[in-house]
């Protein structure tokens, strides 16, 4: 990437050189010009780092209560040595939770879960949504009609309420919450994909492939899909943000991840009645959810502007 960047700088300085600049280079350059997108990328990088290294950087076990290990009370206030907490007391950056566990360690492990939730739900939704949208847009007719009407019905529900209803059918649990959120987000991808397919279907290179005897499968997956990727990528990045938010909400309501899983939404939910006595146990999980969602939102906006230059001046 760094190499790419220096190359592009070079071609800039040479002014009228005939060196070609690829579309990707232009996109990258535009992306890196946006400060907010870079901030999003930076936050995400830190979160990914935390998620990958949680077992080494977490000072305590996220599941095991500290009873009999340390002299700490339930829901004890954060103890930070740098901020004047006595050195002889063990350090707990974010306090102790209701089951006498180190909140900070649980928060760190939570990053892992949140990212997995975001990526897995969106992957599932994107696969199903893309296939449905592609089929509908490409073949048209009654098939298209049926698919899109089903999508309309799904879109007719406020997403969180539909997700709650689906989880209540499947039963509470993290996996079921993931499935529910995936189902709820399918229509967005189906619509984006269908719209792209409708416009690309008429292109000359698609007719050429057909003339050469290419199958429908070949046309959809080798000709149309690569050209429809841009809006899908943007939608997916923004979709991860809302998936994480919805999953946290479900866990908060007790329908998603179950205790003792260190998931931010469920951690927040189980301590919510203690907000007046131990606000730190509510503050940190929620703050982390916000930070994660924010990073994907910033990244998604940046990608959209970078990939779709027509909008650049508006959001710039």
């Amino acid at each position: 990437m760094a190499e790419e960047k220096s190359k592009s700088n070079q071609s800039n300085s040479e002014g009228l050189s005939l060196k070609s600049v690829s579309l990707w280079q232009i996109t990258w350059r535009r992306f890196f010009k946006r400060k907010s997108a870079l901030v999003g990328l930076a936050i995400l990088a830190v979160l990914v780092f935390i998620a990958l290294t949680a077992q080494w950087i977490a000072p305590y076990d996220p599941y095991k209560p500290l009873i009999g290990i340390e002299q700490v009370q339930r829901r004890e206030k954060p103890c930070i040595h740098l901020l004047g907490c006595p050195m002889d007391k063990p350090q707990h950056l974010m306090g102790i939770d209701g089951n006498v566990r180190d909140e900070f360690s649980r928060i760190l492990y939570g990053a892992r879960l949140s990212l997995i939730i975001g990526f897995s739900t969106v992957s599932l939704a994107i696969i199903i949504g893309t296939v449905l949208g592609a089929i509908g847009g490409y073949f048209g007719g009654w098939l298209d009609n049926i698919i899109m009407r089903i999508m309309d019905v799904l879109l007719a529900f406020p997403s969180l309420i539909l997700a709650i209803a689906i989880v209540s059918v499947l039963g509470p649990g993290l996996i079921n919450a993931l499935i529910a959120i995936s189902i709820v987000s399918i229509p967005a991808y189906a619509r984006v994909m269908r719209a792209s397919v409708l416009s690309i279907r008429e292109m000359d290179y698609v007719s050429a492939t057909r003339a050469l005897g290419g199958s429908n499968f070949q046309i959809i997956f080798y000709r149309i899909l690569p050209n429809a990727l841009t809006p899908l990528i943007v939608q997916a990045t923004l979709g991860i943000a809302s998936a994480i938010l919805d999953a946290a909400a479900l866990s908060f309501l007790g329908l998603g991840a179950q205790p003792p899983t260190p998931e931010w939404g469920s951690m927040l939910g189980s301590e919510r009645n203690q907000v007046f006595t131990a606000p730190y146990l509510v503050f940190y999980p929620g703050f982390m959810i916000m930070l994660t969602v924010l990073s994907f939102n910033l990244l998604g906006d940046g990608l959209r502007d970078a990939l779709d230059p027509r909008l650049a001046h508006v959001h710039g």
Partner: protein
């Protein structure tokens, strides 16, 4: 225009049908039978059989669906298994709380969001713009439940004893007089639709306070509403501010704006009349869309602030497997949502004549 409206209304019918069907099927798929959920684990088989028969749960699915559609068309939602009262009455009691909450949230987000977006767009790239956008980005990423709890902590605990103190839960202070306005006016009404309607309206505490000139009630209701409405309104506010800004920026770059300016029109007129009017379309879209998140967020906000509105009741009913309530409330929420989208579509056509001719 009339033709367009009629066509749009007809187009929503299949969607409404689909909603009814989806909700109906989802409810039947919920594991665990309602009998044991309602009458306890110890209910005998005979008792359960009678329960199932009384509620028509032993008929074929399609027949049940038919009966269900028929009764909804007549405005009947049946009785709640759990509370043993007609669901319509439950709706009359609880819907006003949600309406009050979401309308005030939307109100807050519009009166703050739109001016913020306009200012950000005319002061493009200034610190106001940067700050607004930063705040808007954080706002869309905010978990409603977290914001709600933090606001409650801040205003009920940290600011306790100051004039800024706000109650963290409920809709009214216990013991406050909330006599319905029609009784204050001395009306004696027979039971019926008319009375139910007025009762429904009187459950909108703010409206009731205004109509019955009960300022104590009005003040108390508003005080209780501020925190939940602020929490619920944050995401729509951010979305609206963002959309207003980008839509305004696009319009401000158009030639006719330059023309309007160069012919010496006052700046305010150019911004509000020429630019803002033309940038309304995407703002209306986002308004309609954010109502969805508002209704979903109502479940969370009502949970946190202890408001027994539609969202909270729906959630409780799902956990208790009260089929009737879940069906009725989900349907009502979805119908609301569809109607709002219909209104959005129609105002679209009003704002942009090209759409009508499509």
């Amino acid at each position: 225009m009339v033709q367009y409206v009629i066509r749009r209304i007809f187009a929503t019918i299949p969607v409404l049908f689909g909603i009814l069907f989806v909700v109906f099927m989802l409810i039947r798929l919920i594991p665990g039978d309602p009998c044991h959920a309602m009458l306890g684990e110890k209910a005998t088989k005979e008792v359960c059989d009678r329960f199932v028969h009384e509620h028509g749960l032993d008929k074929p699915l399609l027949t049940q669906f038919g009966i269900y559609i028929n009764s909804i068309a007549h405005g009947k939602f049946g009785d709640s298994f759990r509370y043993g009262i007609p669901i319509t009455r439950l709706l009359i009691e609880r819907l006003p709380a949600t309406i009050e909450l979401s309308v005030s949230a939307l109100f807050i987000s519009i009166i703050i969001g739109i001016p913020l977006g306009i200012i950000a767009s005319i002061k493009h790239n200034s610190w106001i713009d940067v700050l607004t956008m930063l705040w808007a980005n954080i706002g869309v990423s905010m978990p409603v439940f977290w914001l709600g709890l933090m606001l409650a902590y801040l205003f009920a605990i940290v600011l306790k004893g100051t004039p800024f103190w706000l109650p963290p839960s409920g809709r009214l202070t216990v013991g406050i007089d909330s006599t319905p306005f029609y009784e204050v006016w001395g009306w004696h009404l027979p039971d019926g639709t008319w009375k139910s309607t007025l009762y429904f309206l009187s459950n909108l505490h703010i409206l009731n306070g205004l109509l019955s000139a009960n300022w104590e009630l009005l003040k108390d209701a508003v005080k209780h509403l501020i925190l939940p409405a602020a929490a619920l309104g944050t995401i729509p506010l951010a979305l609206i501010a963002r959309m207003t800004r980008s839509s305004m920026l696009e319009v401000l770059g158009q030639d006719y704006i330059r023309t309007a300016r160069s012919k010496g029109l006052p700046r305010r007129l150019v911004i509000l009349k020429h630019a803002f009017r033309n940038s309304l379309l995407p703002i209306v879209t986002i308004l309609g869309l954010s109502l969805g998140s508002l209704l979903g967020g109502a479940v969370l906000t009502e949970t946190i602030f202890g408001i027994s509105g539609v969202g909270r009741t729906l959630f409780d009913a799902i956990t208790a497997r009260d089929y009737g309530i879940v069906q009725a409330f989900t349907v009502v929420i979805a119908i609301f949502f569809v109607l709002i989208n219909l209104i959005v579509d129609i105002s679209y056509a009003y704002l942009d004549p090209r759409i009508r001719l499509d």
